[in-house]
């Protein structure tokens, strides 16, 4: 009955598409009821009621049982409890009070419930208390703090041997009347208990609690948001606390994870503020589908595909960012990285590339949190160009404005001699090196972020509201991003056993002039990077001529004046996004829970791109207005129960069903030639066209999961999932739309059986899982379309597909085996977490590139086999742990060996991306790691000599793979020092074994900027060729010259913090922290001469770079305090 109400609610929320899903939901509902019914037969309870079956058992053992079932802590003196009689008790679903009554009936002890603690004391004491005259009581005040000096709310402060106890308030303060000589016992879940003797001198106490030696009870968030004790998890989970992302922050929060999680390969994209982040977990596991993880926010899946360009010709478009970059790091409580398939099995097809679970904050106390962060940003010049020769050609100094204009971007002129020389604008200036063009052009950028969050607890619930504003000024002139975000989280219990968690995150983002990438036209990055050695970028600063046309410096109209590109081009994206979720959970008396969840991620993007009037290559201008409406609706239901088979064995079955509908409606209005110049709106364009790009996907899933726990030492988990994909449907064909796949994983806590002194915790884990995957919609049918304009009234029809559709698609499968261990040694001073995995993907749905002579750029095929094997490890050591000084150092690292095992029959390579240079590619090649950087080698004759053509230029030989674009080894080294109230942390990280195709170096050859072009600059080559012709030919033919090692070690992050104690502010402020932060401080090692080894310009084809925003270092401060 309840479920019906719940789902009705969900349907109402779903609105329009509701009726479509109704049938489905009713079906799913029936399934859940059926399953629930068959489970209920054997159900024993969990929750607020207790079930016990004990005969002659010690009270302590019974307490442990109750604690496990109810979460209540017991508080007692050991010697007291030793007096207790053994008990026999058999109850089913009895309330706690009733059980306790039965247990204590025949004892000399009694109890009292204080908060979540059951305090045990002697019965006599209570009786004797009455007749005695009360001794002089002292008012003891105090404050309970944790190791960081933050108040501990809800800690129990009791007087030993009495029933008297109080709980600390929001600020950690307590007040209790006690007698001199009595002992205060202070306890809190997860912390070690402390005792303090009451005296007149210490009536105002500050008590600091330390985290208990109880790693065993650490809880991690796993798939479907289920919290599990770490020891029960059979796969690798890494958690990152929100605070690690907020101090030294990045506009795209994912970039802040770089170097922090073993097995996570994060690559920021050189696209300026709020550009995408390329996140790869455990290597590339799909040949052409997404390799980005699934992001799940508070249980609701959110896709975050980078809206980058695919790495084809003319990619002078901005990177439009990814969905994850919209999140405000201040709202993040934890980020949980689920790496293996066993971990993600319950997310099914969407979790194939791993899952990143993000839990946002909810209120934990009555407080106001304020966080303020400012970081400034300065460009770093990655180039090492030649500054011997100036602008010109043929070692010839321009002798007129026309010649200089014609020499354009070329630095094949004469030796720089400091003498006046004609420049493009007719002004004669000294012929000298201009080494500072980058720092002259790029300004000091900055990001100012302010967040305020209000937290309130109320009876039966809590509410948190946070508002945040981010203002970013990019280092690229006239570019930046603003973001306002509002986050509301409410959780409450309207009825007993029913909890409701509702959240809404409203995000408004205005990205102004995201910079172009790759190719030169309209791209300020490209054009400032390749300015001739003797042209000062500031001489171009006026940007426009008096007639409004571009103030050009080159006869190549596509060499856009960088100032004109930055100031006159328009490239704005406005995003209006609402992420909402409602999670309702009902727990029956017998412990059976039912949960229903609805999540909706919806955004509207409005993109406006304008090539302005006067642009040299498009004098009359053009405009592109794109409106994208995206909704991703997820509904799921889950039912589960913990069943107890005997003393040691519990079984937890869970069943669920989910429904997903993802729709995109995109309308693009394009126009060229503005009727009234300089008025940039679509209606002012003379020639207009419109295009519609819809997308629609539905997936239904059912799944079940069974977990066995044996004696706190052995855990086993098995799951099965069945997905149905609309994207596999072909009208007129009855093909298989679903895929079923299992997972098993287990964990063995060996420290339960073997616990030498040096071993605090030890666990072995293993898992195996299969994940199915389908594809994007509309890839099964050939579809025709019309161009927007007509030819003198005649419609222009064509084929819409650019890839050959496939009407026989089937879901692909990937499997993964994982083993690992986790250990805490020497009283937790050392912790080790190691995993090894082996992943295999088969029968991938691939958009396999085809020869364009087939008419298509590719074909949608079920092909290929890809494998990844690797090891990842995290070792953390605390060498020093003293009062007031501690040092923790941790190293995480991973090695991933990736291999393409097979492609389509008879096919040995599959192109991925093409550099703008036209002679550098990335390909998947059978027998090699994925995304090989491929280029033309020299051609050698039989004697091994380089073959040259008639003019003396080396001829290109075979197209050869030089290595994967993805790093093989990734490592991060983190250090944290605490010195009194100061804390210092720094991170050094590195990647090794990856390659990058440096198109920047290619253009360095073409334009005569590269130092290699200095060799024999004034002489002749081969058959009398000059240097420019020779090096241009060489660059065109021998592209292997531009394949570079992308290895690097960077000093990534430094944070120096100071915590002010609350009393400094009269406890009005409950603690404030000021931090100085810096990111990307130094490159300690790189092997690329003229580029940043991380300068990829698209997440979709790693290994290609050109024309991106140069690297920058950021530094600033973070202030956070709590009221």
């Amino acid at each position: 009955m309840f479920l019906k109400v719940l789902f009705k609610l969900l349907l109402a929320k779903r609105g329009l598409a509701g009726h479509l899903t109704k049938t489905l939901l009713i079906m799913r509902l029936t399934a859940i009821f059926l399953l629930a019914a068959c489970l209920q037969a054997n159900a024993t309870g969990y929750g607020q009621t207790i079930s016990l079956s004990e005969t002659n058992t010690s009270l302590i053992k019974v307490f442990n049982q109750i604690k496990k079932q109810s979460g209540y802590e017991f508080w007692y003196e050991d010697k007291l409890i030793q007096k207790a009689k053994l008990v026999s008790i058999h109850v089913q679903h009895a309330p706690l009070e009733q059980v306790l009554g039965m247990l204590f009936r025949d004892q000399t002890l009694t109890y009292e419930i204080i908060g979540k603690t059951v305090a045990i004391r002697e019965k006599e004491a209570a009786v004797q208390e009455q007749p005695l005259p009360p001794p002089a009581a002292i008012d003891v005040h105090g404050r309970v703090l944790n190791e960081k000096g933050e108040p501990v709310v809800g800690a129990t402060v009791g007087i030993k041997g009495t029933r008297k106890a109080v709980v600390t308030a929001d600020n950690g303060e307590f007040s209790i009347q006690a007698e001199k000589g009595q002992v205060l016992v202070i306890s809190f879940v997860g912390y070690g208990t402390r005792e303090v003797v009451v005296s007149e001198n210490n009536s105002n106490l500050s008590i600091s609690l330390k985290i208990a030696d109880q790693v065993i009870n650490e809880v991690v968030v796993t798939a479907l948001g289920i919290k599990k004790e770490r020891k029960a998890v059979g796969y690798s989970v890494t958690e990152v606390k929100g605070e690690e992302l907020t101090k030294a922050r990045e506009v795209n929060v994912m970039n802040a994870l770089e170097g922090k999680v073993a097995g996570l390969n994060v690559n920021s994209i050189a696209g300026g503020p709020a550009a995408s982040s390329n996140v790869i977990i455990r290597g590339v596991s799909s040949l052409s589908q997404t390799n980005q993880p699934l992001y799940v926010i508070n249980g609701v899946p959110m896709e975050s595909q980078p809206k980058g360009s695919p790495g084809m010709q003319y990619d002078n478009l901005p990177d439009l960012g990814d969905a994850i970059s919209n999140l405000n790091p201040d709202d993040i409580e934890t980020v949980s990285v689920l790496k293996g398939a066993a971990a993600t099995a319950l997310y099914g097809y969407r979790g194939k590339a791993g899952v990143i679970l993000i839990t946002t904050k909810s209120a934990k106390s009555n407080s106001i949190e304020v966080n303020s962060n400012y970081v400034a940003e300065r460009v770093m010049n990655p180039t090492d160009w030649q500054y011997v020769y100036g602008q010109g050609g043929n070692t010839h100094k321009p002798d007129s404005a026309l010649v200089a204009f014609n020499a354009g971007q070329y630095s094949y002129g004469a030796k720089l001699d400091g003498q006046p020389v004609a420049q493009f604008d007719g002004v004669a200036r000294p012929y000298v090196a201009q080494k500072d063009n980058l720092s002259r052009f790029y300004r000091t950028g900055g990001t100012f972020t302010n967040t305020v969050a209000f937290n309130r607890l109320f009876e039966g619930g809590a509410i948190r509201f946070a508002a945040s504003d981010l203002t970013n000024r990019s280092i690229v002139p006239n570019s930046g991003v603003n973001r306002q975000s509002f986050n509301l989280a409410v959780n409450f219990s309207p009825y007993k056993r029913l909890t409701v968690d509702a959240r809404a995150n409203y995000i408004l983002e205005q990205a102004k002039n995201r910079p172009f990438l790759s190719d030169g036209p309209g791209n300020s990055n490209f054009n400032v990077m390749f300015l001739p050695t003797s042209v000062d970028v500031n001489t171009l600063k006026k940007a426009v001529n008096p007639d409004g046309s571009e103030f050009g410096y080159s006869n190549n109209v596509y060499a856009t004046n960088p100032w004109f590109a930055a100031e006159k081009f328009i490239n704005n994206t406005d995003r209006d996004r609402l992420i909402t979720s409602v999670n309702v959970r009902y727990t029956f008396d017998n412990g059976l829970f039912l949960q229903g969840r609805v999540g909706r991620d919806a955004y509207t993007d409005t993109y406006t791109g304008v090539v302005p009037n006067g642009t040299a290559y498009r004098v009359n201008g053009s405009i592109n207005v794109q409106s994208t409406k995206f909704t991703d609706m997820n509904v799921d239901g889950l039912a589960g129960i913990t069943l107890k088979a005997n003393d040691d064995l519990t079984i937890t079955p869970t069943v669920g069903a989910s429904y997903r509908r993802t729709k995109t409606d995109q309308i693009t209005n394009s126009g060229t030639t503005f009727a009234v110049p300089y008025v940039y709106n679509i209606s002012n364009a003379i020639d207009k066209s419109v295009g519609l790009t819809p997308s629609d996907l539905e997936v239904q899933s059912v799944y079940g999961n069974v977990e066995l726990a044996y004696g706190g030492a052995l855990y086993l988990n098995g799951s099965l999932r069945n997905d149905w994909f609309s994207s596999l449907a072909t009208p007129g064909k009855n093909n298989k739309l679903n895929v079923i796949y299992p997972s098993v994983s287990g964990s063995f806590v060996f420290s339960q059986l073997w616990h030498p002194g040096w071993l605090s915790f030890g666990k072995l884990r293993a898992g195996y899982a299969v994940v199915g995957q389908a594809t994007d919609p509309y890839q099964t049918l050939l579809s025709y379309a019309l161009y927007s304009p007509t030819l003198n009234g005649r419609p222009l029809g064509s084929i819409a597909n650019t890839s050959v559709p496939n009407d026989a698609l089937e879901a692909s499968k990937a499997s993964e085996v994982e083993v690992g261990t986790e250990m805490k040694l020497f009283h937790n001073l050392v912790s080790v977490d190691i995993s090894a995995y082996f992943k295999k993907s088969r029968n991938e749905i691939v958009n396999a590139p085809a020869s364009i002579s087939s008419g298509y750029t590719g074909a949608i095929l079920n092909i290929g086999q890809l494998q990844n094997k690797g090891i990842e490890a995290l070792v953390s050591v605390t060498p020093v742990k003293l009062e007031g000084f501690s040092w923790t150092t941790s190293v995480n690292g991973s090695i991933n060996a990736n291999k393409v095992i097979a492609l389509a029959a008879g096919q040995s390579s599959l192109p991925v991306g093409t550099s703008r240079t036209g002679n550098g590619f990335t390909q998947n090649i059978v027998g090699y790691a994925a995304s090989q950087v491929v280029a033309f080698d020299y051609k050698y004759d039989a004697a091994g000599k380089v073959v040259v053509d008639g003019s003396g230029i080396p001829v290109s030989g075979d197209l050869k793979p030089f290595g994967s674009a993805y790093a093989k080894w990734i490592a991060g080294w983190n250090n944290e020092f605490t010195i009194g109230k100061f804390s210092v942390s720094f991170l050094i990280d590195g990647k090794f074994g990856g390659k990058i195709f440096s198109a920047t170096d290619y253009y360095g050859y073409l334009f005569g900027l590269h130092k290699a072009t200095l060799v024999n600059r004034e002489g002749t080559f081969g058959n009398g060729l000059n240097a420019q012709t020779y090096y241009t030919g060489l660059a065109n033919n021998i592209s292997r010259l531009f394949v570079k090692d992308a290895d690097f070690i960077k000093f990534r992050q430094l944070v120096i913090g100071y915590s002010f104690p609350g009393k400094l502010f009269g406890n009005v402020v409950k603690g404030a922290t000021v931090s100085l932060v810096a990111r990307n401080l130094f490159t300690l090692m790189k092997k690329t001469d003229n580029i940043d080894p991380e300068a990829n310009y698209t997440a979709n084809a790693q290994g290609l770079e050109l024309g991106g925003v140069p690297p920058s270092r950021t530094f600033g401060a973070n202030l956070s305090f709590k009221l």
């Binding site: 399934a31 489970l39 084809m312 010709q313 010839h396 002798d399 026309l402 014609n406 006869n555 190549n556 040299a616 290559y617 088979a645 005997n646 079955p653 069943v655 060229t672 030639t673 020639d687 066209s689 419109v690 295009g691 519609l692 239904q700 799944y703 079940g704 099965l720 999932r721 069945n722 609309s726 596999l728 025709y784 379309a785 019309l786 161009y787 304009p789 007509t790 030819l791 003198n792 005649r794 222009l796 029809g797 064509s798 819409a800 650019t802 050959v804 020869s851 364009i852 002579s853 087939s854 008419g855 298509y856 750029t857 192109p911 036209g918 003019s951 197209l959 420019q1028 012709t1029 065109n1036």
Partner: protein, 543 residues
């Protein structure tokens, strides 16, 4: 005991639940509808005539900013043939310098977006071959599109002939069949085989045209006039046949003979596509877009070649006044306004010059240099944004017949065909613009004054053919006909650091992208080009 029973119950329960999951069926009834693109059409509701219009338009150049027209037709072919000349730095063809991206442009490359937002790629394979092959497959079994299908076959022949003329061996029999045959890596057919098949295809398709059948509504050449299509088919057959005079004269003669008597009969049969200036870059005249400087300084620096003007001016060719102007001007939207069209002031710009400031190379050092604006530009009639792009003309037809008559004595008098051809090549200019019309008598007088001389027959015919195709701005055809005939005799430019040892290029190298996407077939073809896969290698018929 009870525990064991209990456990067994639990396990059985859990097992049954999982089994239920595995055998559940999803509610997937509406999945076909969900997975059908609502913005697209299927074969059952689409009109194939619309594809024909696109094919005819795309043959005039890419819908994406005249992609290959700019690079292949203008930057390369027009300057190699000394029809145009340019000092714009990237006009590599003018200096016999290889720009592999430009020479690959005609072949084309793919892009991720198809119509309506994109074109699926720029160049011949994605924009011409793909739709024309689909059109044939679409219509071949539908009697109501009988003529449309034959026209599609003729269009395919037209499209493929130009590709093979530029590159030699190339994907032909398997081209464009990615969807129908699942051929994703087409083999490169030998040019000889391609030509053999083209001749058969054109003959067969032309013979199957039925004047009583459908009149394709998408046809912008002839508005569905089947008789005109029959004459077009035979004229195309003649042109394809004559390509083989060097390498296989017997076949050339056989098919020329077959065409005789069935070719075009007047300028009214000229096939052309009239552009539409209101459709933006998708429908604007391709050559005009470039020559008006929409994408670069071509309007200022691209001129008629000295070689070309020197061919017309001394003989008082009446065409000069209509096709050439000095000091061109444009309105604010860069529509051509005209210039000085006085024949006496016309002056062609020498090829192989630049703006480097180096005396031997710089245009300012050329003999007789006064100013850039004093050199002749293509006239405002030839560069109208909504002007026609000529595909195949009566004048070409007559000149080819003149050559057939001269070589083999077939199809009547060479002198008569020459007379008719040259005359038509003068009078057809009126199809550019009424104001470009040259009176019939003026043309007649000129032709009469410069009669055919059989002694120099082939040179006269092919020089006139060269002049004519240059005025059509079909420099692809100028280059092909020059390569097969050797006329006119052009003097190569002398420019340092060229890639051809100072000879006029004979072929475009294969696109490097094919090495990436079609590696096996590419390598075989790349290694088999006589003279190497470069600008100086040769196609089969250019032995």
């Amino acid at each position: 005991m009870t525990i064991l029973v209990k456990m067994r119950n639990i396990f059985t329960g859990a097992g049954v639940c999982l089994l239920i999951l595995a055998f559940m069926t999803g509610c997937t009834k509406n999945y076909d509808a969900i997975n059908t693109n609502p913005a697209g059409y299927s074969k059952t509701n689409f009109e194939p005539n619309y594809i024909l219009t696109t094919v005819q338009l795309a043959y005039t150049g890419s819908t994406d900013f005249s992609y290959e027209t700019w690079r292949a037709n203008l930057i390369y072919c027009s300057t190699l043939m000394q029809g145009f000349s340019s000092v714009v730095g990237y006009w590599a063809g003018d200096k016999y310098i290889l720009n592999p991206g430009y020479t690959a442009s005609y072949w084309g490359f793919g892009s991720a977006q198809g119509p309506p937002l994109g074109n699926g790629g720029d160049g011949a394979y994605p924009e011409q071959v793909k739709p024309v092959v689909d059109l044939i497959q679409f219509t071949k079994d539908l009697p109501r599109y009988k003529n449309l299908c034959q026209i599609a076959r003729l269009m395919r022949a037209l499209v493929m002939e130009r590709i093979t003329d530029l590159y030699g061996d190339c994907p032909y029999s398997e081209a464009g069949l990615g969807y129908y045959d699942k051929t994703f890596f087409p083999k490169y057919d030998k040019q000889q085989d391609i030509y053999t098949d083209l001749l058969k295809e054109i003959s067969d398709a032309t013979s199957k045209l039925d004047p009583n059948g459908d009149q394709p509504t998408g046809d912008v050449f002839y508005n569905g006039n089947i008789s005109q299509w029959q004459r077009f088919g035979n004229t195309l057959l003649l042109r394809v046949a004559m390509r083989l005079v060097k390498v296989d004269p017997a076949t050339a003669q056989t098919y020329a003979q077959q065409a005789v008597g069935h070719t075009m009969t007047g300028n009214g049969d000229n096939a052309f596509v009239k552009a539409d200036a209101t459709g933006g870059r998708i429908t604007i005249n391709r050559n005009s877009q470039v020559l008006l400087g929409d994408g670069g300084p071509e309007n200022v620096y691209t001129k008629w070649s000295k070689t070309f003007i020197d061919m017309l001016k001394p003989v008082g060719d009446p065409r000069l006044a209509k096709i050439a102007i000095t000091h061109p001007t444009w309105d604010n939207s860069r529509n051509p306004l005209g210039g000085n069209d006085t024949p006496a002031v016309q002056k062609g710009m020498p090829n192989g010059k630049d703006l480097s400031g180096i005396p031997a190379q710089d245009i300012s050092g050329a003999p007789g240099y006064t100013s850039i604006a004093d050199y002749s530009s293509p006239s405002q009639y030839l560069t109208k944004r909504d002007g026609p792009t000529f595909i195949l003309t009566y004048a070409e037809s007559e000149l080819l017949l003149a050559e057939a008559a001269q070589r083999w004595g077939i199809g009547g008098s060479a002198a008569q065909h020459y007379h008719d051809g040259v005359k038509a090549a003068i009078t057809y200019l009126g199809q550019y613009d009424d104001k470009a019309t040259i009176a019939d008598t003026t043309a007649e007088n000129f032709v009469t004054a410069h009669p055919y001389d059989p002694a120099n027959g082939l040179e006269m015919i092919n020089t006139q053919y060269w002049i004519h195709t240059n005025t059509m701005l079909d420099f692809y055809e100028s280059w092909s006909n020059w390569r097969r005939s050797g006329f006119p005799a052009l003097v190569p430019v002398v420019y340092p650091n060229n890639n051809t040892n100072g000879t006029i290029p004979r072929r475009f190298p294969y696109p490097v992208d094919e090495a990436n996407t079609n590696p096996v077939n590419y390598k075989a073809a790349h290694d088999a080009v006589p003279g190497g896969d470069n600008l100086t290698g040769r196609v089969w018929w250019d032995k």
